[in-house]
Symmetry: C2
Subunit: 228 residues, 2 copies
Amino acid sequence: MASLLHHPLCAFSRSTRLALAECGVEAELNEEKPWEWRPEFLALNPAGTLPVLIPDDGPPIAGWYAISEWLSDTLDDRPITAFQPFPGEADARAEARRLVEWFHHKFHSEVTDYLVIEKVFRRFGPNSTSPDMDAMRAGRDNLRYHMAYIGHLTETRSWLAGDALSFADLAAAAHLSALDYIGEVPWEQFEAAKNWYALVKSRPSFRPLLLDRVAGFVPAGTYADLDF
Amino acid sequence: MASLLHHPLCAFSRSTRLALAECGVEAELNEEKPWEWRPEFLALNPAGTLPVLIPDDGPPIAGWYAISEWLSDTLDDRPITAFQPFPGEADARAEARRLVEWFHHKFHSEVTDYLVIEKVFRRFGPNSTSPDMDAMRAGRDNLRYHMAYIGHLTETRSWLAGDALSFADLAAAAHLSALDYIGEVPWEQFEAAKNWYALVKSRPSFRPLLLDRVAGFVPAGTYADLDF
């Protein structure tokens, strides 16, 4: 079986776990603490980042970008699934990728980085420090704008990038689910984004994420509820 | 003809210009100053980032990620060129993408962001400030490690990702060329990286980049020399 080096609260890892499950690729999960700089881990991915997929055969594949595109490139090697990471013609695929970059870069640096890094990852590692409250405030402010953008997209589309579920939905949901774990998503104020998230959250691929637990962090009340 | 919104010292734009030229896609260049937040620009790419490709027909394509993959997806729609952004089988394509992420994210945040942003982009916009010398020192230190990594890759490979030129080479060369413009690359200390860069720099696709001039910034002495 393939295996995936991941961390439960790493949004990049979460999006990749969802994509693997939607593509019907079973992978054993191995938790990695990238801040420990384990030499065996750095040998697999010198960038020291998560996730890293070790397929049944073939070399390791490092990072959400290479893995999601590899899942797309190898669709024909597997039993057919309804899901394609980048469905449709070239223009539709470009729109899905634009939104993947939106969530895995813009959203990450404007929201996840501030909130998850400050609230969770600062506690780990040799230089454990308290959260920076200014950073957390900036992350919360920025999140509101992104929630509104998700709502705006779903006004005219079934899924974020168009008519079909794509890796863009999984990337967005991965970040929101990490934030939801630490109770940082103001769902009630963003009805359209909440309705879209409820659809992703209820997919079978999402179930394992709802069972994630991180030592020292109890998930927020409705984290695992499909009716939240 | 297609057109590309770009900035001469934006490494993401530079890598895209190289990829368009290698793929035989002619595009008119339109300089954009993203810090001006021009409404017509934000309508094309709400993320406010460069580059944005406006193809002959079809919707705009925003960002190096969506554009480079779109060039790969539409190879069959154009006359054959020797260049493919992600050549080879799925594993080889994954390796090229790992390295694209390396340069467009890791290198960007560890080097380009510190040096080009501090030395050039801080001067623009409403809040013009002087360079932060600590940031510049960090960028210069980090650059040495990346130069060594390029040398390490080319020890066993013809190009960064393998036997063929790929978008990984163009991404890496794009960052180095922006740094070279401002005289920040210690070529003499990194012979292997220099030899690889000389190969990319001498390609016809590179010529327009060597003619780039940014108001207020004279390029460093050997910026445009193929024998540097």
